[in-house]
């Protein structure tokens, strides 16, 4: 007795709908027979039998939508061993997260979650391949929020791809880096081999890919930050008086970006692929904040940043940054971003450009807030100024749109009361 599961029929398929069943319960099935037709995100395809036998049960009727890996029918192949009845009901199939490329659904339970006897049998209640378990162990990943797309809902390496590059998994630990041999390591340079950490590898792969494949362009603007600095002073006096945590310029900036993204939703977007007839525009504004933690560069994501107050954003950022430096962040905390802010102001940097964090469409590189002599009403005044540069993916964002976004951002920074109302 074997379970026939929803197959992955395309690169991006996460779930499929049974269009029609060609075989009915009791029918004899030969290898190569068409069992059913399945609608994926791309097309309707015929699904052929891999094994021969008798179809004993149809678990997902025509019209039913389930995740890949979920059993859709049961076949008696003459080998006995009835599978336990532990399948996810059709309606329990979690909704896909259409706005995220990552197969990491925030709220979706793994399909196996509805099978308590299976979960009980497993120590952690999670079915994952040995490879996935090892990667999770080594990189301190929390698998409980990862949706498995392998047979029976097993979490497979592909499900981790959002955060773990394939070759981390493929390269045995301690294996020589490509750098380790050849003329790069030599006496003349006095070179030493420093092994990559897993985080470093992720950075290398993702940003390398971003810089190589995304046509970046850069737009810089400058804001008068006098009002922002004043507002922060006032806010912090009030917050300190009531014993609450202070807010930073960066917290105000996150809020400003969130509101600017609301006004310019096409910046809060993702390019999908050269083959895709569509781009993705994200309804939710999830802002990643680049953090140099003890464990390397990480980008925790502030979900629904446009719905949070400045002090909420400040508290959440503080918590994520401290967690990044101590126990590390989970996949969930680092995925699903729609825009990233990288701030090097605290290092005295005036301005810089950043590389887009794919699949996001843009990133804002923020310099420090410092006093400058500027001309105001034909007089030279000393004012706080702040420079920032938007790196945008030209495949989906044009120069005018980038400029309009920065205009809005500058307006918000220069009129900061709108950030706290």
């Amino acid at each position: 007795m074997i379970d026939i599961t929803m197959p992955r029929l395309s690169d991006t398929m996460e779930e499929g709908t049974i269009a029609t069943w060609h075989k009915q319960v009791g029918d004899t099935v030969k290898v190569g027979d068409i069992l059913c037709e399945i609608e994926s995100d791309k097309a309707t395809m015929e699904y052929e039998a891999y094994e021969a036998g008798t179809l004993t049960e149809i678990l997902v009727p025509a019209g039913g939508l389930v995740n890949i890996g979920v059993p859709i029918a049961r076949l008696d192949n003459g080998k006995g061993g009835a599978a336990p009845v532990a399948t996810a009901p059709v309606e329990a199939a979690p909704a896909p997260a259409p706005l995220s490329e990552a197969p990491v659904a925030v709220s979706a339970p793994a399909p196996v979650a509805s099978a308590p006897e299976v979960a009980d049998a497993d120590r952690a209640g999670i079915i994952a391949s040995p490879l996935v378990r090892r990667i999770a162990r080594e990189q301190n990943l929390d698998l409980s929020n990862v949706r498995g797309t392998g047979p029976g809902g097993r979490i497979i390496r592909a499900d981790l791809d959002a955060t773990v590059p394939a070759h981390v998994a493929e390269t045995p630990r301690g294996a020589a880096m490509p750098m380790a041999t050849g003329p790069l390591v030599d006496e003349k340079r006095g070179s030493q081999e420093i092994p990559f950490t897993p985080v470093r590898r992720v950075i290398a792969r993702r940003l390398g890919e971003s810089a190589r494949s995304i046509p970046h362009f850069y737009v810089t603007a400058v804001a008068d930050a006098e009002a922002l600095v004043q507002l922060r002073v006032q806010l912090n006096e009030q917050l300190a008086a009531t014993g609450r945590a202070k807010v930073s310029i960066n917290d105000l900036l996150i809020r400003a970006c969130a509101l600017a993204l609301r006004e310019h939703p096409l910046v809060n977007a993702s390019y999908v692929s050269d083959n895709s007839p569509t781009m993705l525009v994200h309804d939710r504004v999830n802002i990643g904040v680049a953090v140099a933690s003890n464990n390397g560069l990480v980008v925790p994501v502030l979900v629904d940043a446009d719905h949070k107050t400045v002090s909420e954003l400040g508290a959440e950022t503080k918590e994520l940054v401290s967690q990044a430096s101590t126990k590390g962040l989970s996949i969930d905390q680092m995925s699903g971003g729609t825009f990233t802010i990288s701030n090097l102001g605290m290092f005295g940097v005036e301005e810089f450009t950043a590389i887009i964090n794919p699949p996001e469409g843009a990133i804002l590189a923020v310099g420090g807030t410092k006093k400058e002599a500027v001309v105001v009403d034909d007089e030279i005044q000393i004012r706080h100024r702040m420079r920032y540069t938007l790196s945008a993916d030209h495949r989906i964002i044009d120069g005018a749109l980038a400029a309009q976004f920065l205009q809005t951002l500058t307006r918000l920074i220069e009129n900061p009361l709108s950030l706290i109302i």
Partner: protein, 338 residues
């Protein structure tokens, strides 16, 4: 390098070893006057004479035992068993004598002999003449079992087997005799116990030996064209000792494996390979190891049934698809491949 058949590579290597070392001699049924059932020994009786190319009675146990005695006394006999099926008559000599004499008698005598024998079905030779029972010998400590899949490996492993001081069962295959490949002109013995990665890849490890190593390579090349799959092929070359390190390293790289074998599935060589992977690469597996083997029946005579019983390229491709589906691997084609 010279392009030649597997058959020719074996013939030329036997001849060159006989020229190199006068202790190398051949024994077997019909190998002299008739020049061998598969013509591996063609011309050798005429060239080397009856003393070194011995036609034997149809009595496998007797002449295998005689070869063991000759080996103990310093000759390097190469015995031809017409097919591996007939080795069953000599199995007591092979398992209880050739394999045991060196260890059981405290190293007083070595048994430097080679037993050449073809296995394989697909020739409509019926249930008793189409078996792949190399496992019976790979199971036994004291023996070495090699199984080349290419003319070049046939030469290198034959050189190694003849020069080895232990008894070596040298598995040939009826379906490989006419296959051709480049063979080095110089004599460089293989290292017995080393597998070969015959195709580098990153998506999946496909493991086979003898004819199935040949088929595996072919399937991998085909899927690279048709499906853009990057499959690594491991040719075991030697069944005992088994090169576990090469198998494990490959699976550590690809995270999944399919083992293909011409013998029966249950208790087969593939089971040992799967256990090796589970032992050495468990934490690297993203999907269960799959095996493709012959149907669990005595080989049928009818051509249609014989073809159905043997593992086919189609079977291997299906197993690869199923394994890659289980790892969520993105493949360019969606339907089963025919």
């Amino acid at each position: 390098m010279t392009l030649m058949s597997y058959r020719q590579a074996l013939h030329d290597t036997l001849r060159s070893e006989m020229l190199r070392d006068e202790n190398v001699m051949l024994m077997g049924e019909e190998i002299g006057v008739f020049e061998g059932s598969y013509k591996i020994t063609a011309g050798l009786l005429a060239e080397f004479g009856e003393k070194r190319v011995r036609d034997t009675p149809i009595a496998e146990e007797g002449f295998t035992g005689a070869a063991i005695g000759a080996a103990m006394l310093g000759l390097r006999p190469v015995v031809e068993l017409m097919t591996i099926n007939f080795s069953l008559i000599a199995i007591d000599q092979i398992v209880n004598h050739a394999a045991k004499i060196y260890g059981m008698f405290g190293g007083q005598a070595k048994v430097p002999m080679v037993i050449r024998t073809p296995g394989g079905g697909g020739q409509q030779l019926g249930a008793t003449h189409s078996q792949n029972i190399e496992l019976y010998y790979a199971f036994v400590p004291g023996l070495k079992v090699v199984a080349p899949s290419t003319p070049a490996d046939a030469k290198a492993l034959m050189l190694a087997a003849i020069r080895d001081d232990d008894p070596v069962l040298f598995l040939e295959n009826l379906a490989l005799y006419n296959t051709k490949g480049e063979v080095p002109d110089h004599d460089e013995p293989a290292v017995i116990g080393k597998a070969k990665v015959t195709r580098e890849g990153s998506h999946l490890t496909l493991i086979g030996y003898s004819r199935m190593a040949y088929v595996a390579k072919k399937v991998a090349d085909q899927l690279a064209d048709s499906d853009h799959l990057d499959i690594e092929v491991v040719d075991l070359c030697s069944l005992r000792p088994l090169d576990r390190e090469t198998i494990i390293n490959s699976v550590k790289k690809t995270n999944c494996a399919v083992v293909v074998e011409d013998d029966w599935l249950t208790y087969g060589i593939g089971a040992e390979v799967a256990a090796t992977i589970s032992d050495g690469a468990f934490d690297y597996l993203d999907a269960p190891v799959r095996r493709v083997a012959m149907a669990e029946v005595p080989m049928p005579y009818a051509k249609s049934l014989e073809t159905a019983a043997l593992p086919s390229e189609h079977d291997i491709i299906q197993a690869i698809y199923q394994t890659l589906d289980a790892t969520g691997h993105r493949r360019s084609k969606t339907g089963p491949h025919d």
